[in-house]
Symmetry: none
Subunit: 359 residues, 2 copies
């Protein structure tokens, strides 16, 4: 696949800058890398994320991948340094960057704020991976001042690395990420913080639930402080609503009435069910847009390939697939996810071909 | 591997009963299954989790795998029905079961409370898997009344299915799981509950962090109500401490002093770092026993089947497989999980055959 992105200049060789450089380089795009950290640049170049910046570079597009608190200043400088280039950034907050750029008198016609919703709890060039953006939303925050060409170029960038673009205003973006990203980060940190004073023998009983709920508590405090500072009013609103719900639960359990406690506990658990069902598609446990068909296959080589070949022959497109296979089980469970309209046909045809459908 | 467990009778064919039956049957243990749900029994037996109970059964060991609120009553009945058998249960709370049994006048010399720290957000026989207990802690709560032989038999059960036994008193267990399991469940539900009133366009920006922190919010409310009711005083203590921390954070952000807010945010994030570091073993990824290889495939029919056919030709056994596919992306990511020894060969052979490995 080739793209018409031209030369892309990436400022910052952390997780996002390096991952973007890797993804673009694999597509044959000319990527030049720069960073205040020579060590990061060396590592990113060694990984194959691009080449070192040179005087003669004439980038079409500059992607600023630096911490949020430094973003506006560097975007402004890049707009000046490359007067015909489009400049975007990938900071997790968008409104404060835009306000700072307006204050700095930056040329907002060539600036497009953006935010790939992709990350890992590990940062740095060393954590970079070319597939970081595949299938993830990439928010594009154009303004009335942005030229259509600038917006289009940044959209092409996101699409080239496999992301799904989402056009949102900066302030809407910040409200949304307070809910889906910033408050979950704080809640995860608060939950993990409870473990600090616990006995090792208690923590030894930890299962997957604790590991999942606290995974992002391992995130970089300095990076997150910048994000949370820049979006504190939106974060506060969500955090206060969470606190009200929590307090209702605590008060109900503390009331001494088993009935009151149980009613509130059930309410929290059931509302949680409804909430998690609203998270779209992949990665989670519920796949509400897709119908799930569970096929039982014998645990012998080639069975899965045979199943998928036959699904292909039936002519139904798989939206998602998960294999549950246990080393010691004689049967593997294959979860096929298809659009609801295709469910019955696929079940009928698989059964006709002798496959066993579970459930 | 053979064990000297004798005949094991499992009461209840949900996730835990079925998984235990699968694991023991693979080891050649004679497993008899019973449940109030004939449908679950039929499915569990078809999976290979054991045989139907018969009049002539004379189990050495009975494992009660029913919801917490029914556990004590069924344990007591099994102790009476099989007067020479050791009886254990797998309920997530231990002290209330013990108290109820004492009230019922049960023979506590042959009862050993236990709790395998293994679960999934999906329940039922259909979710059963033989490797559910591998590498997980399995808590054994003996009392001063338990005979050493009874304790030893339940330890043998846990070890036979690959779990690591942990001897803890019932009340200690309940205090520990309030911290590492019950409060994380409620916090995850409260977090997911915030999504109920959100705009779909906001939720569309969800990333992996939200998915991980809210995964267990999809758990069964009825099961969890029973657990939380039976352990409400321990849960309340942890929940109140969490609430105090949360309120300090809210108050600091609300104070209007950027310095106060930042100091408290950093404190929460850094304490969260320290807390998550205390969790033993693996962080995040579910399958540290296996190596993960991510293959990028074109989003066209038959590609996945072709990949799996070639993996079969290479002769490497897939332990697990996950497809990440986004409707709007042109590339699908296939995560292959193999034993670490097979990783390099599979990568080399796939690359030689022209497949693209990500990362």
């Amino acid at each position: 696949m080739t793209t018409n992105l031209g030369t892309v200049r990436i400022v910052g060789a952390g997780l996002l800058g390096t991952s973007l450089g890797l993804a673009l380089s694999k597509l044959g795009v000319d990527v030049v890398l720069t960073s205040h950290s020579q060590k990061s640049i060396d590592l990113a170049i060694e990984y194959g994320a691009g080449r070192a910046a040179a005087e003669s570079d004439n980038p079409n597009l500059v992607v600023v991948c630096v911490p949020p608190a430094k973003t506006a200043q560097i975007v402004a400088a890049e707009l000046v340094a490359f007067p015909s280039a489009v400049v975007t950034d990938v900071a997790s907050v968008k409104n404060s960057v835009l306000e700072d750029l307006a204050e700095l008198g930056a040329d907002l016609s060539r600036y497009v704020g953006s935010h790939p919703m992709a990350g890992r709890e590990r940062g740095g060039a060393i954590a970079g991976r070319a597939d970081l953006f595949v299938g993830r939303p990439w928010v594009i925050c154009s303004t009335s001042k942005t030229t259509p060409e600038a917006t289009k170029l940044v959209e092409s960038l996101a699409q080239a690395v496999g992301a799904a673009t989402v056009a949102v205003e900066a302030s809407e973006h910040d409200r949304a990420v307070a809910l889906v990203s910033h408050v979950p980060q704080l809640v995860s940190s608060l939950l993990a913080a409870r473990l600090v004073a616990a006995r090792p023998s208690d923590i030894a009983l930890a299962g997957q639930g604790l590991r999942d709920t606290t995974r992002i508590a391992a995130s970089d405090p300095n990076l997150w402080l910048q994000i949370l500072e820049a979006n504190s009013s939106e974060v506060l609103a969500v955090l206060k609503a969470f606190e009200v719900d929590l307090h209702s639960l605590v008060a109900a359990i503390e009331s001494g009435s088993a009935q009151t406690a149980s009613a509130q506990i059930v309410k929290v658990l059931e509302t949680g069910n409804l909430g998690v069902e609203r998270i779209p598609g992949k990665h989670g446990t519920k796949h509400t847009e897709y119908s799930q068909i569970v096929v039982m296959i014998d645990d012998k080589p080639g069975e899965l390939a045979r199943l998928l070949t036959e699904v292909g022959q039936i002519g139904v497109n798989l939206e998602e697939l998960k294999l549950e296979h246990s080393p010691s089980a004689q049967i593997g469970l294959v979860e096929l996810y298809v659009v609801p309209e295709a469910e019955q046909k696929l079940i009928d045809d698989l059964v006709a071909r002798g496959w066993r459908i579970a459930g």
